[in-house]
């Protein structure tokens, strides 16, 4: 017997711009002990399905068709009170952010015991025993004492374990997990997924796991449903969908996933979602403004050389120096970047990699050390006008495409600002011509110039960011997690674009990412950072094939295994 049936589900969001069909005729089933993955990119409607099953659709969204059956009993037609009784008791939930899914003012014990007693009516003593037992099952050490702690006393991964315990406490038949590991570092993600899978199998619980991450799908699911713009495009066993997908969207999605084991020339077939990423008109760089003054004199040494740089943040300010508490975000880091190469910096959150980038482009002043750019120590420059000479040659692309563009300025003015500031064009007419050419060159088209940033998607905004960075004709480009806020197929497009630009313009790049497979696609050499220190610098292939530092090996081991993914259409770069 099927545990959970979702039949012909249709969900609409009426708005004043017309009705949006978020979920269109979706049918899914979950068996006891089975993990069903729902995968898709943002806006595909996957989270809406989860919310509809537990009866927590956000208004104005409403179900306008179909049924949700739990053990053949319809639950979508029940009243609010009956639905509330099912939530938690028969259907458990795990949300993305473990920080906000626990009440910060109550101890874990209060939250667990209350929920168990409410649903199972065991009485307080029995409920507490069960709570301790659950915490032990989800792998919390010393549960008898830890249960008395508040949520903030647990780390992110431990907190997500508590959330899982909370979801399991009333012995639900189905668990809905919405992006359960997205907020966690990779090292913790692997453990949590393993735990969820084991509990599911042991207790014969059906699980619906909603994610955008093919790594999560590969690791935990038995079957996969692929969503595209509210529709279910393909469903099948995990091995089948990942290894031999039928639908062109699934094929394009899988081909866009960066692989840790191979380096691609380019990502193929990534124009399914946003076709306008195509660069229709390319500039002739031998004559165009953008290609001018590229013939720099050959260098003897590296383009950029960091020597023992240190960045200190004050965590507890005080008037007297010896009373201050400080923390070294970057501690004694040295590396060189040669002209024309792409240098990667990789590390987990808080490892100091972004701080290094911000020191190079003088957003932060290092506490000690030298930053030598073609023989000039940037930390010694005092005058702003002198610094402008180097600023023009060094530009940065930021992580969040939604905050990196001023929403009150037109795209034309955003991209023209650096050209005007550095006086790189003689007339206003020329500035406008350059901006339109740049927009064409990054694949947006000239008509984008008159629009405002909010009219664009995340990927398109990132193209605007790239155009702005190119507008000073830089020699050195810093990319700080340029794709981590983007969907996987958009990420593939942006990575393709960055690769093309780097080759065409002979740019030197510092590429920062937490994502090792992305690093492998982009970089020639890689530095690995851990808590402010550089633990290893190697050529990319050596790093992946033969890591030196123990921490690098650890990071590589934790990468999701994607070797089951289809290799169809991929063009591997031979070295």
């Amino acid at each position: 017997m099927d545990l959970l049936n979702i039949n012909n589900l249709r969900i609409e969001f009426p708005s004043r711009h017309g009705t949006v069909i978020a979920v269109d005729d979706v049918t899914l089933t979950v068996q006891p002990g089975e993990v069903l993955g729902v995968v898709g990119e943002s806006g595909a409607g996957k989270s809406t399905i989860g919310n509809a099953v537990i009866g927590l659709l956000e208004p104005p969204g409403k179900m306008t068709g179909g049924h949700v059956l739990l053990k053949q009993q319809g639950i979508d037609t029940l009243g609010p009170e009956a639905k509330r009784k099912i939530r938690g008791r028969r259907i458990g939930m795990i949300f993305q952010d473990p920080l906000t899914s626990l009440d910060p003012l109550q101890t874990i014990e209060q939250q667990l015991v209350e929920t168990i007693d409410l649903h199972l009516k065991l009485g307080e003593r029995k409920s507490r025993e069960r709570a301790v037992d659950l915490l032990r099952q989800v792998g919390i050490p010393d549960p008898e004492n830890r249960i008395k702690n508040y949520p903030h006393q647990f780390s992110g991964g431990m907190r997500q374990r508590v959330v899982i315990a909370l979801a399991l406490c009333a012995e639900p038949e189905v668990i809905i997990a919405d992006e359960p590991t997205t907020a966690l570092d990779v090292s913790i993600q692997a453990q949590i997924l393993e735990l969820m899978r084991r509990l599911c199998k042991d207790k014969k619980v059906g699980m619906l796991i909603i994610t955008h991450d093919m790594g999560v799908i590969a690791e935990i699911t038995d079957r996969v449903a692929v969503m595209y713009r509210g529709k279910l495009v393909e469903e099948g066993t995990t091995a089948k969908i990942l290894g031999n997908p039928d639908h062109p969207y699934t094929q394009s999605l899988i081909s866009a996933v960066p692989r840790p084991d191979i380096r691609l020339k380019r990502f193929p077939m990534v124009n399914y979602i946003e076709a306008e990423g195509e660069r229709k008109k390319l500039l002739d760089l031998s004559t165009h403004w953008l290609g001018r003054s590229r013939d720099y004199a050959a260098l003897d040494g590296p383009l950029l050389s960091l020597k023992n740089i240190v960045m200190t943040f004050v965590t507890k300010p005080a008037i007297l120096k010896h009373n201050r508490v400080t923390f070294n975000a970057v501690d004694d880091v040295s590396f060189d970047i040669n002209e024309g190469e792409v240098f990667g910096l990789v590390g987990e959150s808080g490892s100091g990699k972004s701080t290094v980038a911000r020191m190079i482009c003088s957003l932060y002043r290092p506490a000690a050390g030298e930053i030598n750019y073609i023989g000039t120590d940037l930390t010694k420059i005092r005058s702003e006008t002198e610094r402008d000479f180097f600023r023009r040659q060094m530009q940065m692309i930021f992580q969040d495409p939604f905050s990196s563009l001023n929403s009150r300025m037109r795209v034309m003015d955003i991209i023209a600002e650096p050209i005007r500031f550095h006086k790189l064009a003689s007339s206003n007419r020329e500035v406008e011509q350059i901006v339109t050419d740049l927009l064409d060159h990054v694949g947006l088209g000239a008509q984008a110039a008159v629009r405002f940033p909010h009219e664009f998607s995340g990927g398109q905004r990132q193209r605007i960011s790239i155009a702005r960075a190119l507008a000073t004709r830089p020699r050195f480009l810093i990319c700080d997690e340029p794709t981590s806020a983007l969907d996987v197929s958009i990420q593939a497009q942006i990575l393709n674009l960055l690769k093309d630009l780097q080759e065409e313009l002979g740019l030197t790049m510092l590429f920062i990412s937490h994502d090792l497979p992305v690093i492998r696609q982009m970089c020639d050499r890689v530095g690995v950072m851990k808590t402010g220190k550089l633990v290893e610098v190697s050529a990319t292939e050596d790093l992946f094939e033969n890591p030196q530092a123990a921490y690098t090996r650890e990071l590589l081991d934790l990468m999701p295994r994607l070797d089951t993914l289809s290799h169809e259409g991929l063009e591997v770069e031979q070295r």
Partner: protein
């Protein structure tokens, strides 16, 4: 698609969510009509008002204390009656609203300029500058605004020779009310600036090399103006009330150029002798004006704050 890209400014306004929220909120429409109506009436007072209350040639003490036209002894020439000097109440209200609105708007603009500037500097520069500006703001906040205005007004009167009082008293009033209200703007703008300056578009501008002054003016200022406009609308109502209060207390504008507050004070002396109209009509005008502006401010706050929707 091609045509819709180059939308004019007007099309963008009428297509915006703000405009939609406005046209679907009867309270907002009503209060906007009342506010705009009163502002227009005040601006065009010399053409609308049946009499010029400041032209000594046309007013006559013989018409003093006439009741409204519809009650016994009323005169059709003076629809809402007259005051002790024979000035028509309707005309004086129209001219009085002019003074009230002038002082209200000017002092709000004064507060905004001071508050936004200090808020931007405080938030962006940080450190000791920030601490200094915000401590001054804290100290000022511990006094009631009306007390600050009274104090400034009193000091100014002491410093300025008495023969110039009537000419410049309105500027003193604007300065006094303006200086008592900058703190709110400074605090709000400082808070938004702290958020905005860490956003990546500001960092991108710094990477380009744009100087702090230009960053503040071109990038941060337009992005912190939303909440400022809400405060400004609500502050306009408060400024009008403060002006009326000061005038009622006799330290505002001189009686020769009466504002709504002055009128209420003049009428107050006659209230117990039964001449109610001198104080009630300016009073009602003041209440309606302030209420309309306040409702407009409330709507704007809700419309601009997505969390309240």
């Amino acid at each position: 698609m091609e045509q819709s890209l180059e939308r004019t400014r007007l099309q963008r306004i009428f297509g915006s969510d703000i405009w939609y929220s406005f046209t679907h909120n009867p309270t907002a429409i009503f209060s906007a009509i009342v506010t705009v109506g009163m502002i227009l009436a005040a601006i065009f007072a010399p053409w609308i008002a049946p009499h010029d209350p400041f032209d000594l040639a046309t007013i006559s003490i013989m018409d003093g204390n006439l009741p409204p036209a519809w009650s016994a002894g009323g005169d059709m020439n003076f629809l809402l009656g007259t005051d002790d000097q024979g000035r028509g109440i309707l005309s004086t209200i129209l001219y009085g609203a002019r003074i009230s609105l002038l002082v209200g708007f000017s002092s709000v603009i004064f507060s905004m300029v001071v508050g936004i500037t200090l808020g931007l500097v405080s938030g962006y520069v940080g450190g000791r500058t920030d601490a200094l500006i915000m401590r001054i703001a804290d100290i000022q906040l511990s006094f009631p605004a009306i007390l600050i205005a009274l104090l400034v007004d009193g000091v100014a009167r002491g410093l300025i020779p008495s023969e110039m009082h009537s000419e410049i008293s309105i500027y003193v009033l604007i300065f006094a009310i303006g200086i008592s209200g900058w703190v709110q703007y400074a605090r709000t703008v400082r808070g938004s600036t702290l958020v905005e300056k860490n956003k990546e578009y500001v960092q991108a501008a710094r990477v380009i090399g744009i100087r702090p002054f230009t960053i503040l003016r071109r990038h941060i200022l337009p992005n912190v103006m939303g909440p400022v406009m809400v405060i400004a609308t609500i502050h306009l109502a408060i400024a009008i009330i403060t002006e009326a209060t000061l005038s009622f207390l006799g330290v505002g504008v001189p009686p020769t150029t009466p504002s709504l507050g002055t009128l209420i004070r003049i009428g107050n002396e006659y209230l117990f002798s039964g001449d109610w109209w001198i104080t009630i009509f300016p009073g009602i005008t003041l209440v309606v004006l302030v209420l309309a502006v306040n409702l407009l401010g409330d709507w704007m706050r809700d419309a601009l704050n997505p969390k309240l929707r």
